[in-house]
């Protein structure tokens, strides 16, 4: 099952990337995620590994994931090493006017689980889709709020306050 959610953020792509790619901030905007811990020597970049869990229904589902694509500042993708099969991606694109279009994709399932697996994927889809939507919304709020604070700080500095 593949789900996705996208949103437009009124901030430069570099600012969005700074937050999206920082494992230390994952819990602050990723909805339903209860764990996102660095499990490799390098915290970011190609080959970085994280232990992550996402609450879906009565279980926290996830496992060890590895970053398999790292194209700063536009693409960041991971795939599961252990646990439920998953492929995720943050896809950032510059928009006219200086904004950024953010798309989050997540494909998940359990290979070999048969019809129960298919049913479970369908039943879990609304929850996962909801998590993705809230994630991009929270990311937008976080990035734009930080932009607002930076601009306010710059104004205060200029005014000598």
């Amino acid at each position: 099952m593949r789900t996705s959610a996208c949103i437009e953020v009124a901030a430069p792509i570099e600012e969005v990337w700074k937050i999206v790619s920082d494992p230390g901030r994952a819990l602050s905007f990723m909805s339903g995620v209860t764990r996102w811990e660095v499990a490799s020597e390098n915290a970011t970049g190609l080959g970085a590994r994280y232990r992550m869990l996402l609450r879906v229904g009565s279980a926290e589902i996830g496992g060890l994931i590895e970053v398999v694509e790292w194209d700063e500042p536009s693409d960041y993708a991971w795939t599961s090493v252990t646990g439920v099969d998953q492929r995720g991606r943050f896809r950032l694109r510059r928009m006219r006017g200086g904004g950024t279009r953010v798309e989050m994709r997540l494909a998940y399932g359990v290979a070999g689980s048969g019809p129960f697996g298919w049913i479970a994927e369908q039943m879990a889809a609304p929850t996962v889709r909801g998590h993705l939507r809230r994630t991009v919304q929270q990311l937008k709020r976080l990035v734009e709020y930080e932009q607002l604070r930076e601009r306010a700080a710059a104004r205060r500095a200029a005014a000598g306050i």
Partner: protein, 311 residues
């Protein structure tokens, strides 16, 4: 999942005999007695020897969606505090047990443990001999279910696994519905000696809701004694309940369709027995402490519930 229990006879503080000991019984002359002994013999032969290698992570992984459907959709399961379980190494998970022979708390917890820590982490559960010898339930062994005996428990812990035990076993799981919010291990303390001998921490796992999946009327201990089930099958109960689809359900041997009661499970912080109770701890003191701790947690979970079944 199956009814489980640590070995141990109520009240004696000892670990129990490993399995049905048919040979210890004196032959009964009556036809019924001979039939029962023959059946017990068959059951004893069907009890598999514990082989930890039978646990199959790939099999468990492929069954996770099925468990997830049962736990999330049917039982609306909620498991809290899994972070209290040590990230690695052997640990004894001690739970209260509910739901008759269809034990939803085990289903919900097995799913939660395997998704939280990954199917790669060895995780075993002790089950009553009868459960493992039931036709069609052999697949439980692939989930890591082994017959309840001190030897099997030690083997699992020495392999570095997490081991889930239900000290109350068949005695607790068939308690009447009006005692649903009571932790009742029946005085079985073998699990404490096990944790001390193997020097592993105990993590209490408190569940609520399982005893609302049917109307449990009585354990039927007297009937079990009368039919000598305790001596033949290590069964101390012959429960009577009202359950789907049977109506009046005697013995619950074929299981039942559980009502979709909300299952909530709380995992408490790990307890290092020697650090808490000294180098030569009193087993009875630890038992009283653990039961009261779990009872307080169960009371708190019960206070959160507004209606039976609905939660």
């Amino acid at each position: 999942m199956a009814q489980t229990g640590t070995a141990g006879r109520p009240g004696n503080g000892q670990t129990a005999l490993p399995a049905v000991r048919v040979g210890d019984e004196q032959p009964s002359g009556s036809l019924v007695g001979r039939a029962l002994r023959s059946f017990a013999d068959q059951v004893a032969r069907r009890i598999p020897r514990a082989d930890l290698d039978e646990r199959d992570p790939d099999f468990i992984r492929e069954r996770l969606p099925m468990l997830w459907l049962a736990a999330s959709i049917w039982f609306r399961g909620e498991v809290r505090g899994l972070g209290n379980i040590p990230e690695s190494g052997p640990v004894l998970l001690v739970g209260n047990h509910s739901g008759g022979n269809v034990t939803p708390d085990t289903t919900v917890f097995t799913l939660a443990f395997n998704t939280y820590f990954g199917v790669e982490r060895p995780f075993f559960q002790l089950a009553h001999n009868l459960v493992l010898s039931m036709p069609g339930l052999g697949q439980l062994r692939k989930f890591g279910t082994v017959a309840a005996s001190p030897e099997n428990a030690r083997q699992a812990l020495r392999s570095g696994a997490a081991l889930l035990v239900y000290p109350g076993g068949d005695y607790e799981v068939h308690r009447p519905s009006w005692e649903r919010n009571r932790v009742d291990f029946g005085g079985r303390r073998g699990f404490i000696r096990l944790a001390l001998d193997e020097n592993v921490p105990i993590v209490p796992v408190v569940a609520i809701g399982g005893q609302e999946t049917a109307l449990f009327l009585t354990r039927g201990e007297g009937l079990a004694r009368l039919l000598r089930l305790d001596r033949l099958f290590r069964l101390k109960v012959l429960p009577l309940s009202v359950a789907l689809p049977w109506g009046v359900n005697v013995g619950d041997m074929l299981g039942h369709l559980p009502l979709p009661a909300k299952i909530t499970i709380e995992t408490l912080p790990a307890i290092d027995l020697r650090a808490e109770f000294g180098e030569d701890p009193d087993v009875a003191e630890i038992y009283d402490y653990l039961v009261s701790l779990m009872q307080e947690t169960l009371d708190a979970l019960a206070a959160e519930r507004r209606l039976p079944v609905l939660g």
